[in-house]
């Protein structure tokens, strides 16, 4: 074949013609635009509408942001500086940022303490969120609540230490007995922890130890975005074990226990969080023994935790249901009892596949912590609606403040939801 082509025929191409570049309308950005923006007339129209929309928004906001005044003592002064031009008074943020982040009564010289706790939080959360990290880091996660408590509330170092000793005692008792009997280990753990706290309670107040004490901050003084973060983190972590217990209870064969769990879950999911917060603010104090005076922060934590645990229970129930039945049967056939099979076989798998759902619930809950502003707690939104907008200097600044709040929440929640999507993809490949 090749002989012929070279000898007998006068004009034959020996190579392929190099392909011509496509016409300029079918290449590069123009082609991309034709395919992606103007494929059909309707599509073109949509593009134009969208472009106009984007233009309308940007032309309104960009000059406003660019003209922003960052340094001014009050709104009136800021408006004078703008002199009628459209522009933002970001000065309210530079002037009041500490109130927005920490609340107005948190002592300003110890802002480093919650900040440090916040930074440490990432180290504590990392091993839980990323499975590849060495498991030993979980020790720090376990210590974190006590460190964070000490950093944020201050007071005597012995309070968190005692709590830690109690938990450790409980853990050791649990670890010692769990192999033989879960119930004994579990109850023994709780009893020994309570015993340590109770005995410790006798030791510590008597001496009034002030060494190692940091300035104590009452929980009423917490506020701003810090309060949202704390409520979110505390309530989600507290609600996890309760949620697991509720989910297991709802799956239980024992009708009475199942009934209690179902009623609780459906009740909590059936009422808006705001009514539960009303309960925390106007009713819950009547449920405590007379004179115990449990403060509002703890009452709110209790109610939000109950709220979150019902939702988390439903997510975990989904995870339990998604496990192949073979896993349950395999656990049974190994002769494991209920506690063992749950602890060693079922829950580790069910929890793993529930994590994206739990993260979604947590994001929702974190957003809902803003509702505490309705019951006169000064979280980020409460700070804005209360002290800042009520002050003579900054009365009438809305966009800057709410834009800032929206930005803070967006960054946090978007970050968490990106993590959850990443995790979902990863878990999906893990199963193949």
């Amino acid at each position: 074949m090749s002989d012929q082509s070279t000898n007998s025929i006068a004009f034959v191409r020996t190579q392929e013609v190099p392909s011509m570049p496509p016409p300029y309308t079918a290449a590069g950005p123009i082609r991309w635009m034709r395919e992606n923006l103007f494929a059909t007339p309707l599509n073109g129209l949509l593009t134009l509408v969208a472009l106009y929309f984007i233009y309308a928004i940007l032309s309104g906001t960009l000059p406003w942001i660019a003209n922003g005044i960052w340094d001014s003592p009050s709104l009136a002064a800021c408006r004078d500086m703008l002199d009628g031009a459209s522009g933002a008074c970001f000065a309210v943020l530079t002037e009041r940022w500490h109130q927005l982040l920490f609340g107005f009564t948190y002592p300003s010289d110890i802002y480093w303490r919650p900040t440090l706790a916040f930074v440490l939080f990432f180290f504590a959360a990392a091993p839980v969120l990323f499975f590849d990290l060495p498991r030993k880091l979980l020790v720090f996660t376990g210590l974190f609540p006590f460190i964070a408590f000490y950093l944020i509330w201050g007071g005597s170092v012995f309070t968190p230490l005692l709590a830690l000793v109690g938990v450790l005692a409980g853990y050791f008792v649990y670890a010692r007995y769990v192999a033989s009997n879960f119930a004994v280990g579990f109850l023994g753990g709780i009893i020994s922890a309570a015993l340590v706290w109770w005995l410790g309670g006798f030791v510590i107040p008597e001496h009034e130890i002030t060494e190692g004490a940091m300035r104590s901050v009452p929980s009423r003084d917490l506020g701003g975005f810090m309060l949202n973060m704390m409520l979110g983190v505390t309530c989600v972590s507290l609600s996890l074990p309760i949620g697991i217990a509720l989910a297991l209870g709802r799956q239980s064969d024992m009708p009475f226990i199942k009934y209690i769990c179902v009623v609780f879950i459906e009740f909590v999911r059936g009422v808006p969080l705001i009514t539960l917060l009303f309960v925390a603010s106007v009713m819950l104090s009547y449920f405590f023994p007379p004179g115990s005076g449990v403060d509002l922060f703890i009452r709110v934590v209790i109610m939000i935790t109950l709220f979150a645990s019902a939702y988390i229970a439903e997510v975990i129930r989904g995870g339990l249901a998604a496990l192949p039945k073979g896993q349950y049967e395999a656990a049974d056939s190994l002769g494991l009892d209920y506690a063992q099979s749950m602890r060693l076989i079922i829950l580790p798998q069910a929890l793993k596949i529930s994590i994206p759902g739990i993260v979604n619930v947590s994001v929702g809950l974190f957003k809902d912590t803003t509702l505490v502003s309705v019951i006169s707690m000064f979280d980020l939104v409460g700070m804005i609606r209360g002290p800042i907008l009520a002050s003579t200097e900054w009365n009438g600044v809305y966009w800057e403040l709410f834009g800032f709040a929206a930005l803070l929440f967006f960054v946090t929640c978007y970050g968490i939801s990106q993590y959850s999507q990443w995790l979902e993809r990863r878990l999906a490949t893990d199963h193949r």
């Binding site: 969208a50 472009l51 064969d253 459906e266 059936g270 808006p272 705001i274 405590f288 309705v374």
Partner: protein, 404 residues
């Protein structure tokens, strides 16, 4: 091991309560029951002691007393002399109203945004994901406040419509957009209007009958009748004909600026619009995600098979993809409706008189009966939520049957 050493019947030992599987579940339940009873007793006792110490009591007599305050939006007759119970009823109806409106609008926006997120148009796709992300990641409370603020700041007050140098004017001289609400013309029913209304109802029925007939014909004979134009004709023509024949019995009452406010016409109050819009647009972002997930859950082979059969893209969507996607979309959709209903309790922020604002707001505030009001409030939401859950369950069971 236990099977080998099973104790013979009759020899009951106390330890068997825990170690024998026959009794263990009973024992555990008994323990749970006792613990629950103790907890309830403990809490109830605390409440009783606390209330006794304060000389307070729980009673619901305040519900019958005159409420004493006015409510700006009411669906039933109500004056400041009506009872607190009636005020709560007004609030309940307002809650249901805003929940219904917001559910409808959220569904429309959500489906639109969800479909557009899958559009071929890059710009529209990006814009929609931006919309979804920004609304999903910022608390609804902040959105409600922002939208309420935008509404009052952007729309003109009625004062702007007044005088010769008015800065705002009414749309078509009929609709006024003000920051107190939107005023639209109200129909005035003259003599003979009943006939027009009847004709209209009949033609609506006619449209459905025609479409049914066309579908039946399509399935039986394969002949495809035109759908759209005949439907539109049946919908409009007879009613308009009768309307003119009867001598235009239905007139319109236009809103007019009188005194401080527009008078006449129908007013859709500003607070209602704000909470309605805020809840719809917020929840629509979640619905859009569900719709997208639902459509993507339908395998590509289905779309391709439909295309291979020669169906056009609109029909592929309506006949092949949507029926399958709906099964995935609807359960989370209903739970989004549930969320709208619960989030409507935030109407308190915009001054909309829902049940949280009347019973749980002003009534609580004025009577000081906190426990009673909060209990009733929770009871109401619970009833609503359980009803919606019941609907979900019925639906889930229905589609379960169809599946195999």
């Amino acid at each position: 091991m236990t099977t080998l050493t099973d104790a013979p019947e009759g020899q009951f030992r106390l330890s068997m309560l825990l170690s024998d599987t026959r009794y263990r579940s009973l024992t555990l339940q008994a323990i749970a029951a006792i613990a629950l009873a103790l907890a309830i007793f403990y809490l109830g006792n605390n409440v009783a002691k606390n209330l006794a110490a304060l000389g307070l009591n729980i009673n619901f007599e305040f519900l019958g007393a005159p409420a004493g305050y006015d409510i700006n939006q009411r669906l039933i007759e109500y004056t400041s002399q009506s009872s607190n119970f009636r005020a709560a009823l007004v609030g309940i109806l307002n809650t249901l109203l805003v929940a219904f409106l917001a559910c409808t609008m959220a569904t429309i926006i959500g489906v639109l945004a969800g479909v557009l997120r899958l559009s071929n148009n890059w710009l529209v796709r990006k814009l929609m994901s931006f919309y979804v992300e920004i609304f999903r990641n910022i608390p609804v409370l902040i959105w409600i406040i922002i939208i309420f603020t935008i509404m009052t700041a952007v729309l003109p007050g009625p004062r702007a419509f007044r005088g010769d140098d008015a800065t705002s004017s009414m749309l078509f001289d009929a609709i006024a957009f003000t920051n107190r609400g939107i005023y639209i013309p109200a129909p005035v029913w003259g003599a003979g209007s009943l006939v027009v209304v009847l004709t209209f109802v009949l033609s609506v029925i006619g449209v459905f009958a025609y479409r049914r007939y066309a579908t039946k014909l399509l399935y039986d004979t394969g002949r495809l009748l035109p759908m759209m134009w005949p439907s539109i004709a049946i919908f409009f023509v007879p009613t308009l004909l009768v309307f003119f024949v009867m001598g235009m019995p239905i007139g319109l009452e236009y809103p007019e600026l009188k005194g401080f406010n527009f008078k006449g016409g129908i007013k859709i109050g500003g607070p209602l619009i704000a909470i309605w819009f805020a809840l719809s647009i917020y929840t629509a972002a979640f619905i859009a995600e569900n719709v997208r997930a639902g459509i993507q859950a339908v395998s590509k082979g289905q779309t391709e098979a439909a295309a291979a059969l020669g169906l056009r893209s609109g029909r592929i969507m309506s006949l092949v993809v949507l029926p399958q996607a709906l099964r995935v979309i609807i359960p989370p959709l209903i739970s989004n409706y549930l969320n709208i209903t619960k989030n409507s309790s935030l109407a308190i922020l915009v001054g909309y008189a829902d049940v949280t604002a009347t019973l749980g707001g002003i009534t609580l505030n004025q009577t000081g009966r906190a426990i009673e009001c909060v209990l009733l409030l929770m009871l109401f939401y619970l009833v609503i939520s359980l009803s919606i859950s019941a609907v979900i369950n019925v639906y889930n069971n229905a589609i379960k049957l169809k599946e195999r």
